[in-house]
């Protein structure tokens, strides 16, 4: 049994990454931008697992483990920042959160 070719998974990851980029660029809601970033992290995780499987090395899956850890930390801190911004500005539109913009 040959199994599924590895480029199927890579192209699925590319589609998900592209959709995440489109979400980050086109949406203006800070929480949906966060969700799109999670989508991009998941696409990269899928590519990591696929390469780990194709090359017969365990490093890819260990790296996916650390990516999940960093994603959890990022979600906790990022959503804390979102709550503080929403409390101070009464808005989550990223075009209004422009204090550091040139």
């Amino acid at each position: 049994m040959q199994g599924i070719p590895i480029h199927y998974f890579l192209i699925l990851g590319a589609i998900l990454f592209g959709l995440g980029v489109v979400g980050v660029i086109t949406r203006r809601n800070a929480i949906i931008i966060f969700m799109s970033i999670e989508l991009m992290l998941n696409a990269v995780n899928l590519a990591f697992v696929a390469f780990s499987r194709a090359l017969g090395q365990v490093q890819g899956q260990v790296f996916v483990f650390f990516v999940i850890v960093v994603a959890a930390a990022e979600a906790a801190v990022g959503l804390g920042i979102v709550i503080v911004v929403a409390r101070n500005r009464q808005s989550l539109n990223v075009e209004r959160i422009n204090l550091l913009k040139l």
Partner: protein
């Protein structure tokens, strides 16, 4: 052959859910569609024989992170996003085209370089395999990850303090919901 059927089922679910996340105007439904995508990706991990990653993925993403997202969305009572017309529309559509170009770039090279690489039959994705790698060769990054989680927890606690003031244009003190109800 049943593997291919499962692959296409999970792939269509994942891409459909991701498309819904990007286009749906309601943040709550967007988050629920993202959960569909995460479960479909867990199915793809099982197809890649990465059992440990699949279980951790469901437990951490669908169990913890998405619950946190939904909790914050419902706490802030977000309404449907209002699309504002303006100068940013041109940049937005330009970025859309660039994102599609990025997809073709990644997809083309993924297709080109690894078309003949087939999935090997190993059992390195089990809990035993991951655990042996994680607690022997990668034990130092594992411990550093625990410190990272501790720092993130402290940061989230500090950010959610009640009297935290963020410098903004109006210099108005932040009023919390609890203070407003008690006064």
């Amino acid at each position: 052959m049943v593997e291919f059927i499962l692959f296409w089922l999970f792939a269509i679910l994942a891409v459909g859910g991701a498309f819904g996340v990007v286009v749906h105007p309601n943040p709550v439904k967007s988050a629920l569609l993202l959960i569909i995508t995460l479960f479909a990706l867990a199915g793809e991990y099982v197809l890649l024989m990465a059992h440990f990653i699949a279980i951790v993925h469901i437990a951490v993403y669908a169990g913890a992170i998405m619950v946190l997202f939904l909790f914050v969305i419902m706490l802030l009572n977000l309404q449907t996003e209002v699309r504002e017309a303006g100068i940013w529309n041109a940049a937005r559509y330009g970025g859309f085209i660039l994102a599609i170009l990025l997809f073709f770039e990644i997809g083309y090279f993924g297709f080109k370089g690894f078309q003949t690489a087939y999935v090997r039959d190993t059992n390195l994705g089990t809990v035993e395999g991951i655990g042996q790698a994680l607690f022997s060769k990668y034990v130092l990054p594992f411990e550093i990850a625990s410190i990272l989680l501790l720092v993130a927890m402290l940061g989230a606690l500090y950010l959610s303090k009640r009297k935290l003031q963020v410098a903004d244009g109006q210099k108005t003190p932040a009023k919390t919901v609890a203070e407003e109800t008690t006064h």
